[in-house]
């Protein structure tokens, strides 16, 4: 069964085509700069040359049409015609309180995604446009939505409610939703496999450290808390986002600097985090490089970043009354031995002990803990697309049984 996974951003489309019979990637790629005359399509079929095309792509329908054309291209393609695609899985950022799992897309589902636009104004609109475009181009097959928020829907009320007037939750659904759910779910499942134990008897802390970063407490396979909140701004220090701060700072700075809502929002989302502190880079690789040259602000950025991760791991170990494994994933988590070493250095009291040599691993799955360590530390490359493809396959199979 071939499943096509789509991730539509405001000016980009990322895709992967899976053969789910053996869970292999047949092709993957992305379209960038949609809306411009110089949009680019990068496509790589497994075992074939990478293809680059530049052309005018003004909206998502054209972008997806081009992707389908290259997928069926005799030279670069992997399928003969679009009819071979059995189903499409769509990544959707915000499912609000409506969705606790991936779902078959119906008109009602689309209406619900639309009603969450307020909660994710940058992400849900292009997600919806992508669904609409894909349904037009690939009619008659199931389309499935997988939500970034869904995995965290198991959080208890004490974790998702904020201690602000309750009426704000009732009126506007102001609460913690959490993000990167697909990633936290995937790496926690994979961690259980690596450890050779059922996920429902494990306490796992998953650290998704990328340009956006979040951390989750996963007890018995269920997310019971996560660091991102109502928006993806809360929690860890990120490339350009502040993460946690005293809310009292916001009105104070707004008054002092005469800032409006838009400005303070942009300040916290685009000018804070690693770039805000270091002034040199939002990318951890560059921060580490500057730090090695003796840049004090880059060192500050690194220290604040890792310290925040340590605090969250400590907090989540307490929240679960213990921890069996800590997982590092995403760009920084998979590729920075320095970040992992610094974080774990401060977790010895929990029973964490790294094997310095194994910790040198980059971008590959590995158990990097020292022999006999009470808490295992794993590096697991995330694979959100595969989770979406699996969910899609599962839903399609249920449909077929129903027939």
């Amino acid at each position: 069964m071939k499943i096509f996974v789509l991730n539509c951003g405001s000016s980009s489309v990322k895709y992967q085509l899976f053969e789910m019979d053996n869970e292999t990637v047949l092709a993957k790629g992305r379209v960038e700069r949609i809306g411009m005359d110089s949009a680019t399509l990068t496509h790589k079929a497994t075992g074939k040359e990478e293809v680059h095309q530049t052309s005018s792509i003004l909206e998502h329908t054209t972008a997806i049409r081009k992707v389908l054309a290259v997928l069926t291209d005799p030279k670069h393609g992997v399928i003969k015609n679009v009819g071979e695609i059995a189903a499409v899985g769509h990544r959707v950022v915000h499912g609000g309180e409506f969705f606790s799992d991936s779902v078959l897309i119906t008109d009602e589902v689309k209406a619900a995604i639309k009603s969450c636009i307020d909660l994710a104004p940058l992400h849900n609109p292009p997600n919806l446009i992508g669904i609409q475009a894909a349904q037009e181009l690939m009619p008659g097959i199931p389309h499935v939505a997988a939500f970034d928020t869904a995995f965290h829907s198991t959080m208890p009320r004490r974790a998702f409610l904020y201690a602000i007037p309750y009426v704000l939750y009732r009126r506007y659904r102001v609460r913690r939703y959490g993000f990167h759910g697909t990633s936290h779910k995937y790496v926690s499942r994979r961690a259980a496999e690596v450890l050779g134990r059922p996920v429902d008897e494990l306490k796992i802390i998953t650290c998704h450290l990328g340009n956006g970063a979040s951390i989750a407490a996963i007890k018995g396979g269920q997310s019971i808390d996560t660091s991102m909140g109502f928006t993806p701004l809360e929690g860890l220090v990120m490339g350009t986002r502040s993460g946690d701060l005293d809310p009292g700072i916001i009105p104070y700075v707004m008054a002092k600097e005469e800032l409006g809502m838009g400005e303070v929002n942009a300040m916290l989302n685009k000018h804070s985090g690693l770039i805000g502190i270091s002034g040199v880079a939002s990318d951890m690789r560059e921060i580490e490089e500057e730090m090695s040259k003796g840049d004090a602000k880059a060192k500050d950025a690194f220290d604040i970043f890792t310290y925040r991760v340590v605090k969250y791991i400590g907090a989540y170990a307490a929240a679960m009354n213990g921890v069996d494994a800590i997982v590092f994933t995403a760009g920084v988590g998979e590729n920075s031995p320095a970040v992992r070493a610094t974080v774990c250095e401060n977790l010895k009291f929990l029973g964490v002990k790294l094997d310095p040599e194994k910790n040198e691993v980059r971008g590959k799955e590995a158990d990097i803990s020292a022999p006999g360590a009470r808490v295992r530390v794993l590096v697991i490359p995330t694979n959100e697309e595969l989770v979406i493809a699996r969910d899609t396959k599962e839903i399609v199979e249920k449909l077929n049984i129903g027939d």
């Binding site: 600097e257 800032l259 400005e263 303070v264 942009a266 300040m267 685009k270 000018h271």
Partner: protein
């Protein structure tokens, strides 16, 4: 038709503001002025404004470059030929505006809509200088364009429904709220605010209170972001005088008669923010210098 590019004729305060804002919202922009020197000034003005926004964390360095990259500066009016809408933002001089409308009417595709940013002149009269009066409309943006949410959408006598609809969509795409107005001198905003500003100048001239006190009273008493005298400085006292004389002539009503103090300041070359001195003093970046 679908608008991708906005043509702006006039690189003064309003033209720059609109160029910056339209580019920020994703439009390609071509801005026309008479000479390379004026265009250089316009570019410097837009750069400064973006710089200030960046310092206030509203945009990033990359976003700033993208916005500037979308704006083309030209001293050749014919370059508006590729625009989907042309907005004229030159000074409130009827003959000059008519001349511009006559010229762009020759240059642009028949389907292109022309808008004037005039605050006082007749759209009907401007429209009459073209062969497409149904495609001419007023779009009165307020200064500073990136910040002010309001646009008065002004119908001339012959403006078509289709043109109004297109103008409304354009205004909405700029993230502004449009209010529809039938042609009448000063529309809503100028007609109501100019007498207030004028009265503030009379109060100052009569020695009722200092400029600071007048502005403080209105700011705190009526929750205004700026007092009337600072508003006058920001509009530009020369522009204000021309606009008020126009209103006075059109309505023939004494309540629009410009205060003699305004004439005196204009004669003396104290034109407000643009010269650094009006009712108050301003630094090079246009920020009020508090005494």
């Amino acid at each position: 038709m679908d608008i991708k590019k906005v043509g702006i004729v006039g690189g003064g305060t309003m033209g720059r503001g609109l160029a910056e804002h339209a580019a920020d919202k994703g439009y390609d922009v071509v801005i026309i002025d008479k000479s390379p020197a004026l265009l250089h000034e316009a570019r410097a003005g837009i750069e400064l404004s973006l710089q200030k926004r960046q310092e206030k964390w509203a945009i990033t360095e990359a976003e700033k470059r993208v916005i500037l990259g979308r704006i083309q500066f030209s001293d050749t009016l014919a370059d508006v030929s590729t625009a989907g809408i042309v907005v004229e933002t030159v000074t409130e001089d009827l003959d000059l505006k008519k001349e511009i409308f006559r010229s762009i009417d020759q240059i642009c595709d028949r389907r292109v809509v022309f808008a004037s940013n005039t605050s006082t002149l007749s759209i009907t009269e401007l429209a009459a200088s073209t062969y497409r009066p149904e495609k001419v409309i007023g779009l009165h943006f307020l200064n500073p364009v990136p910040k002010m949410k309001l646009v008065e959408i002004v119908r001339g006598l012959k403006t078509s429904e289709e043109t109004v609809r297109l103008a409304k969509d354009f205004v909405a795409s700029l993230d502004k709220t449009g209010v529809e107005v039938y042609e009448s001198p000063g529309f809503i905003s100028s007609r109501l605010i100019f007498p207030l500003i004028n009265e503030a100048m009379y109060a100052l001239m009569e020695g009722v209170a200092t400029a600071e006190s007048i502005d403080t009273a209105m700011k705190l008493g009526y929750d205004m972001a700026r007092g009337p005298l600072e508003m006058a400085d920001r509009i530009g006292l020369d522009s204000l005088l021309i606009a008020m004389e126009r209103l006075w002539r059109d309505y023939g009503d004494l309540k629009y008669r410009p205060c003699p103090l305004l004439r005196k300041l204009v004669r003396g070359g104290n034109l407000g923010v643009k010269t650094g001195q009006g009712f108050f003093k301003y630094d090079k970046e246009g920020d009020l210098i508090r005494s």
